[in-house]
Every structure is written in C-alpha cells, then in structure tokens.
C-alpha cells in the first residue's frame, strides 16, 4: 500500500515537528496552541507565542551545552513547558526521552542511564530528588532543569537550573546576537527527517523497558495519515491528560496536534482531570476502557442515590438510547417515533449527562489497550458519542488498526490504519508494517532483530484473526494463549475481560494453562462494593476486610456464574469455564510490580508472588493463609497477611441453548 506516496511528496519538506512549529506559527499565529489551568484560570499560548517560548528555551539549552544527537529526558505530568521541551530538543537535533513521572527512583535511574541522557527536564522537587538520589548511576547527566520551583529554593546543586533561567539564557543570546534566532530557524529547516524524533520507553510488561526509536519522517507521516483519517483540524481541541511518556499521549496529542494545529489543554493537576475535561469539552478524546468503566460506575452509583422520578427518567431513556442510539449515530434507518423519543431523551438525559462527563463536544473518541465490554461500549455510543476502537503499539508509533466511523464494533479493533500492511502468521500472530514503524530499540540490536522480520514486518506478539467483515480481532497475547489438560483453548485475557465488565470487579487474573480447569484471582472495586456496603449497613475498616466479607463473596459468585454462562455460549471458549475463584486480600498495585505503569496485570509475576494461593486454587482447599510484602509510595516496605477464602463456581453445558445449570 504505497498509493499515497505521491500525495505525500507535496508535503515532504515537512518531515519534522519543529518544521510544523514554524509553519503553524505562520498559518495559525493567533490561534491557541496550548492551554494550562493554573491558579484557577486557563492560561493560553498562541502558536506564535509557543514558538517564542520554544525558541528561548532551545537557545538556552544550546547555551548550556546541548548538542545534536544528545538524549534529553523529560519527566513529569502534562505541562506546557514539558511539551515545549520536546520541540526545543528536536529543533537542536537532540532526542527527547519522556520517562514516566511516577516511576520509582530505581526504575527511573535505569532508563536515564540506559538512554545515556545528557540533560533532564523535570516537573518538580519530587523528580529532582529522585534524580539527585541516584546521580551516581547516571554518569552522562550534565544538567537538571525544573519547571516548578516549589520546595527547591534551598537546593544548591551545580547541575540544577530553573526553566526560567534557561529561557533567560536564550533571551540573552537573542539580545546579544540578533542572528542567533534566524540561525536556529535555519537549523530547523535544514534538519533531516531521518533523524530520531523521539525515544519512547515501553512500559515493561515483559521485563526491563526498551527504548523505542521513532524517526521524524515516520512520525510525521503517521500522524498526518490518521489526522486526515479523522478529519482533525486546528479547530479541534484535546485534553492532554495521558501519561507524558506513553506513546498514546505523544502521538494523539503532540504529534497529531502539530500536524493539524489543534490546541492541547493541560489539566491543573491529575486530580482535577474530570473537572478540567468538563470545562474544556474536547472534540477529540482518548481513554483506556477502564476510564469509561469508572465513568459508567460513577454514573450508575449516583443514579442509585437519585430520587425516584430521576431514576425513572434515566432508566426509561437510557433504554431508548440502548435500542436506537447506535443506529441513529451510524445513520441507519430508525422509525420516526423512535427518533422523536430519542430527541426527547437527548434533551432530558443524554446531553446533560455528556456535559457532566465532559464529553459534550466529542467528535471522535477512541479507546484501546484492553478489550472493552460490549455493554459498556454501547452505552457510550448510544448517547451519541462517536467512540471507536484502535489497536496499536509503541513500535508502530501507535496506530496499527482503527475503526471507520461507519463500521464500529466492540469485539473488533477495525481494519488496517491508512498505509499500514497487516498479515497473520500461521501461528496466529499479528504482524504489521506501518509509516510510523520504529527504527529499532536503542542499544538493543539483537532484540530489534528478534522483533522485526527480514521482510520488514514487526511482530506484535498478539494472537488474532480477521473476521468476515475484514476487521481484526485480538484474542490475547500470543504467548499467553494456552490449553487446559482437556485440550480446551484457554485465553486468559478473554476470561478476565468478561469478569471485569462487572462494576464490582476491578481486576481479574485467570490461570489454567496446563491445569484441569480455570481458576481466577479477583480484586473488588472498592468504590462500587463500598457503596453497596454503605447502603446495606455493612461496616468495614479496610479493603482487606471488605474483600473477605461473606456477602461480598456471594455477590462476586453471582458474577462468576454469569461469566461462565457467557463463556458457555461461545463454542471456542466454552471449554474453559471458571471452576474456582478467590478475592485477593490486597489490591494489585504498580508499586508492588503487580501491575505495569499503564495498569496492566503482570500475570506471571502475580502467580509467582502468590504461589500458595495458586496452589490452593487447584488442591481443593477452602482457605489459605498468605503473608505478602508491600512497598509504599515512598519506598518503605511493610507486610500484609490474611487468610483468603476460595470459592467454587457453577459451570454450564456449552452453547446450543443449554441454559440448564450444572453444579461443578
């Protein structure tokens, strides 16, 4: 698929993001490029002002000694100055390396050292402390630049600079030598699209994180393709709230923002995202399924507390939306009366609800990262929100597939994205070749060679297939798909996702490969179950106590039962139903390495850590004592122990209308 290569030739001189910065400052000079809520007010910068800020900072960095080819770490939350650092670094030929701000000092030091960063631009004291504490492990580091001075007034370290002081250096340079600004712009124009644009460290689902290098031309081309696909323009806006170091944030907000010229809005703090979302009401939005899940959970909980009339209105018109909403969204024929009913519902419920959730202006919304429940997906679409799915990877610079507005489904991830080639190997693995495809892992040529095939396709490690309509369906990680002793196919993620659809279940981990049957660990959702406990006068002091409560087990047993019923309806999955389950005594946590920083369960690690519990699932015991070490956010360790109950679940005869339950 190289058909658009000619179309691209016209814009081929635009092959880096700094080039787009100059272009946007010229074509959208007085349009907002960036907003940030600070001191309760949305401060904004136009593209022209953004160019000024970046110019000053870039020249300051240069004066401090940043050179072409250097790596520069960017650590912190979504803030304008950190986004400007990306472009400032790129304009000098340096490579920005965003790092997860909530990484513990050890993980962070590993990445900074592996990437051999010369400079680090960080948000605040927290990050400065982490870096200063591990300085000895990062010999390449020559300067730390911080955005927020709070708490740093008494720090006297020779490598420490404030963001302002670096910009002041740049300004002094501009004042002293009027040609330096022009020289900087000339440097941008002469830069090559073959240079590395950004290096993104993977979240480390499997082992240590790897530095994924993305070339400038590839990044720009990919972003331009998808921006055209979704018709993004300078009139759009986004709330930049995703982790800065994640490919999704860098692609959806930064890359697409530069090529289409739309405005990025940075929230006031991570705790105010919901309020900021409502104030900004973005037109383009991305959130992982768990965010939609928690939105729906909070709506459901608040409706339960509402008055009877409101509850009735909600139930009545959410029902109408469920029947006709998606058809109306997709422009399919709908009877006139139903349309009128829907219009009334829009006035009474859908629009006010969308407004409260901050989704009132959404034109395109995406979700990805995990499978999303059909009911959850339909709920949002039936409100008139154009929620679609995409499938992507850091190695692809995000998009591999994405759904077209007219063909959206919950159980698939869409056909190949523009200019992407996909093939399925005999072993069922999905492989792709894309414009934004990575140029290699930093300093890991061997791993690169293992990941990329000889003919240039990237192995995703995911198992999947194309269905009849030509959309890709992902079942699981290729290596995670296993078999029970009976030979039945065991796809853990599929089972986990079915379980996680229930608002009361926050996390699920399924085991079964090489065993007689499937057993699962569950985490309850403290918000949902806690609310239920409150309404039923059940007192509890901690997660642990609530999780072990007899009635909570009864509720969860009902959910497991329903999950088995659903599994039994699918011929491929019916063989692997849940026989035994337990509710873990603690919430799985990224600080204990049980989840990745992007909140995905590390199944093998969890199995290793709770080995006695896995054994108890299969040896028939009714309860088991465990003692676990936990790490607090500040690095201190503690222990937590409990006797965990293991419960039995009902299983069902496979499909063909077999509603008859059979006790296990």
């Amino acid at each position: 698929m190289v058909t658009t290569s000619t179309a691209r030739a016209a814009g081929s001189d635009l092959d880096t993001f700094p080039k787009y910065l100059l272009l946007n400052a010229a074509r959208f000079g007085d349009k907002p490029a960036m907003r940030h809520k600070d001191f309760g007010i949305w401060q904004s910068w136009t593209w022209a002002q953004q160019l000024d800020e970046i110019r000053k900072f870039a020249l300051g960095l240069k004066a401090l000694g940043l050179k072409s080819g250097d790596n520069i770490a960017i650590i912190g939350a979504n803030r304008p100055r950190l986004y400007w650092t990306f472009t400032a670094a790129q304009s000098l030929g340096a490579v920005p390396v965003p790092v997860y701000g909530d990484a513990v000092a050890d993980e962070m030091a590993y990445v900074l050292d592996h990437a051999a960063v010369r400079f680090a631009v960080v948000q605040d004291q927290e990050q400065v402390d982490k870096i200063l504490g591990t300085m000895a492990r990062i010999p390449s580091l020559g300067a730390i630049i911080y955005d927020e001075p709070r708490g740093l007034t008494n720090y006297r370290h020779e490598l420490l600079h404030s963001f302002e002081s670096v910009q002041a250096r740049g300004e002094a340079q501009l004042a002293a030598d009027s040609g330096s600004g022009k020289a900087w712009e000339d440097g941008i124009r002469e830069a090559s699209g073959d240079d590395t644009s950004v290096m993104l460290y993977t979240s480390g689902t499997t082992g240590r994180s790897k530095g994924v290098m993305i070339s400038a031309r590839g990044a720009v081309n990919a972003a331009r393709d998808t921006a055209t696909f979704d018709r993004l323009t300078e009139a759009d806006s986004v709330l930049a709230y995703l982790p800065l170091a994640w490919v999704g944030d860098h692609y959806l907000n930064y890359a697409q923002g530069y090529v289409s010229g739309f405005c990025m809005n940075c929230p006031e703090s991570s705790e105010t995202v919901a309020q900021d979302l409502r104030e900004i009401a973005p037109t383009f939005y991305f959130a992982p399924p768990r965010v939609f899940e928690s939105l729906l959970t909070s709506v459901t909980i608040r409706m339960e507390d509402a008055g009877r009339l409101k509850r009735w209105i909600y139930k009545r018109w959410i029902g109408v939306a469920g029947r006709h909403g998606e058809a109306i969204l997709e422009g399919r024929p709908v009877p006139l009366l139903a349309r009128l009913d829907y219009a009334l519902g829009k006035f009474l419920i859908y629009q006010p609800l969308r407004d409260v959730l901050g989704l009132s202006n959404i034109r395109v919304a995406y979700t990805a990262g995990e499978a999303i429940g059909q009911d959850l997906f339909s709920f949002f679409r039936s409100l008139g929100i154009n929620l679609k799915q995409l499938y992507g990877q850091t190695e692809a610079f995000l998009y591999v597939t994405c759904q077209n507005d007219s063909a959206v489904r919950a159980d698939t991830v869409g056909p190949a994205a523009p200019n992407v080639d996909i093939r399925i190997t005999d072993a069922g693995e999905v492989q792709f070749r894309s414009p934004g495809q990575f140029s290699g892992y930093f300093k890991q040529d061997e791993t690169t060679a293992e990941t990329v095939t000889e003919d240039g396709f990237v192995k995703t490690g995911d198992a999947g297939f194309f269905d009849a309509s030509g959309q890709l369906k992902i079942i699981d990680r290729a290596k995670d798909v296993g078999k029970l002793k009976s030979g039945a196919l065991f796809a853990p993620k599929y089972i986990e996702n079915t379980l996680k659809f229930f608002p009361n279940i926050k996390e699920a981990v399924a085991y079964g490969d090489g065993h007689d049957f499937v057993g699962v660990f569950l985490n309850i959702d403290l918000q949902a179950v806690g609310n239920w406990a409150e309404r039923n006068n059940i007192a509890y002091a901690s997660y642990q106590e609530l999780a072990g409560h007899r009635q909570v087990y009864e509720i969860i047993a009902g959910h497991v039962d329903e999950t088995n019923r659903r599994l039994s309806r699918e011929p491929v999955m019916a063989g692997a139903q849940i026989r035994r389950f337990l509710i873990l005594h603690k919430e799985l946590d990224a600080d204990d390495s049980e989840l990745t920083r992007t909140q995905k369960v590390r199944r093998t690690f969890v199995a290793e850590r709770y080995r006695p519990l896995v054994e108890a699932l299969y040896d028939g015991s009714a309860e088991k004592f465990v003692d676990t070490e936990v790490t607090y956010e500040d690095g201190r360790k503690g222990r937590i122990s409990a006797t965990v109950k293991i419960a039995e679940a009902r299983t069902y005869e496979p499909a063909s209308g077999g509603q008859q339950g059979l006790a296990a």
Binding site: D38, F39, G40, Q43, D147, R150, N154, E271, Q275
Partner: protein, 271 residues
C-alpha cells in the same frame, strides 16, 4: 505560572530573632479556677514556637489570651511594639494574628474557595454599598483577592476541591482548608491549635510539610499547640511547657526533652 509563586514570598529571616510578641506575667482565672498563673514567654519573628503540656495545662487558654478571646486579669501582651491587655478577636485579626481551631470551625455548606475567600474579608476595603452592587471597584478588589486565594490553593495543593462544599471533605482536608483560611489573612503570627489532632500518620506528615513550608516559604511566624511529641520536637524551634497553668520549662526541643520537670509533668512523680 508557577514562577509567580516565588515572588510574593518573603524568605523567613532565619535566625533574625527579632521580637514579635512578648507575653508578660499573664494570669487568667475563671471564678476560682486559675487557668494560667503568671506566665511569661516570647515569640520571635520567623520561628515555629510550640506550646505543650498535659491535658488541662492551660495551652488553649493561653492561645485564647493571645488572640484576644480571653482578657487576662493580670499581665500584658506586647505585639509588634504595642502593649495591650484587653482586645477583641477582630482587633487581633487586624493586627495580623490568625488562628485555626482544635475542632474544625469552617462554614460547612460553603465551598473550599468561599471559605478561604472569607478569610480575606478582613482585608477587603470597599464599603457595604460597593460590595452589594458588586461592580467597579468592588469587583476589581474581588479579583485581586481571588488571585491571592488561588495562590494559597496552589500552595496547599487543594485545586481539586476548590468547588467542593467543605462538609463533604475528609477530616484531613478540612484541616488543610482551615489552614488556608488562616493564611488568607496574611498573618504575621499564625496560631495553630492542635493542627494534627485526629489525623493518621500520612495526614500528619502532609500537615507537617505544609506547616514547615508556610514558615520557610511564606515567612510566617507560627505558634502551635500539639500533643504529638514527635511532631513538636521535629517541627519547632523553641518549646514552652505548661503544667497546671504554670510555665515549667522553655527552650530548644532537646533541652526541653531532657528537663526533669517536663518528664515529671508528663509521666507523673512518686509522692
């Protein structure tokens, strides 16, 4: 932007040691009950001064005397060079003394923002007429005060509860809002009555952090009453110890810790 935070803040004059307040021979009694007997001590500019003592030692009474809620029968108080005995709390506020309470005393139905704005009311200069029409000078003044309040909200990291009625907030956050309201008065002396009472360890650590920041970054002199000895010894520059309304020790934390009279007062003595 964040840099704006740095400007209005005067760095505490460390070790300047200039006298801010002096309590001279103060005695207070309710009928026949002697709450405070002939107590003298001083508070220096820029320090964190702790007042400690067993239950009923007269700590809160002492604070109430300092901010004018009680009038002592004997003795006098010198604050910023002015000597006085009787004073109303609102005079104390105008002179630059703000306080928080042992039991949270916020306007429960109002938002965090409005509660802190209420702390600014004493500094608002427009008359009732302008306040009512809420236009022209009054509006300009409101905006000016709102800016200061936003700085405090940023300082205490409570942006996410700006619009939340304080009655719905957890206790630790309510305490923080109360601190914010006291800070809004831009006091030169801040009285904290058991700022950590009823808090868990994490909340205590947070609150300690904020108290230190208020002192170091905003340059506010602080007098506090607290029962948690670990907190007191870590936070304060000097400690005065009361027992049965009398002063039994006064000095730096280490000296006070090893003072026999203090140990006896807390642990009791064999008679």
């Amino acid at each position: 932007m964040s840099s704006r935070l740095a400007e209005p803040i005067a760095v505490a004059e460390q070790g300047a040691g200039e006298m801010l307040m002096e309590v001279r021979n103060v005695s207070l009694s309710f009928g026949g009950v002697k709450a405070i007997t002939d107590i003298s001590f001083d508070i220096r500019k820029g320090e964190i001064r702790a007042i400690i003592g067993p239950n009923g030692a007269g700590k809160t009474s002492m604070l109430n005397v300092i901010n004018g809620f009680y009038t002592p029968q004997k003795g006098e108080i010198v604050f910023r060079g002015n000597t006085r005995r009787a004073m109303k709390p609102h005079h104390a506020v105008r002179q630059g003394i703000a306080r928080t309470f042992q039991n949270v005393a916020l306007f429960k139905g109002m938002s965090t923002l409005d509660n802190i704005m209420a702390g600014r009311s004493v500094l608002m200069k427009r008359n009732l007429f302008w306040q009512m029409v809420w236009h022209g000078p009054a509006l300009a003044e409101e905006i000016e005060h709102r800016e200061k309040v936003e700085e405090i909200i940023d300082f205490l990291e409570i942006q996410h509860i700006r619009r939340t009625p304080v009655g719905k907030l957890p206790y630790g956050l309510q305490k923080r809002v109360e601190l914010g309201r006291a800070l809004a008065m831009e006091p030169s002396l801040l009285l904290l009555d058991e700022p950590m009472a009823g808090m868990n360890l994490e909340e205590k650590e947070d609150m300690s952090r904020y108290i230190i920041d208020v002192n170091r970054q905003r340059g506010t002199t602080i007098a506090l009453i607290e029962h948690d000895m670990g907190v007191v010894m870590d936070l304060s520059d000097r400690v005065v110890v009361l027992d049965y309304g009398k002063k039994i020790a006064d000095g730096v934390p280490d000296a006070v810790k090893s003072n026999q009279a203090v140990i006896d007062a807390y642990l009791g003595v064999a008679h």
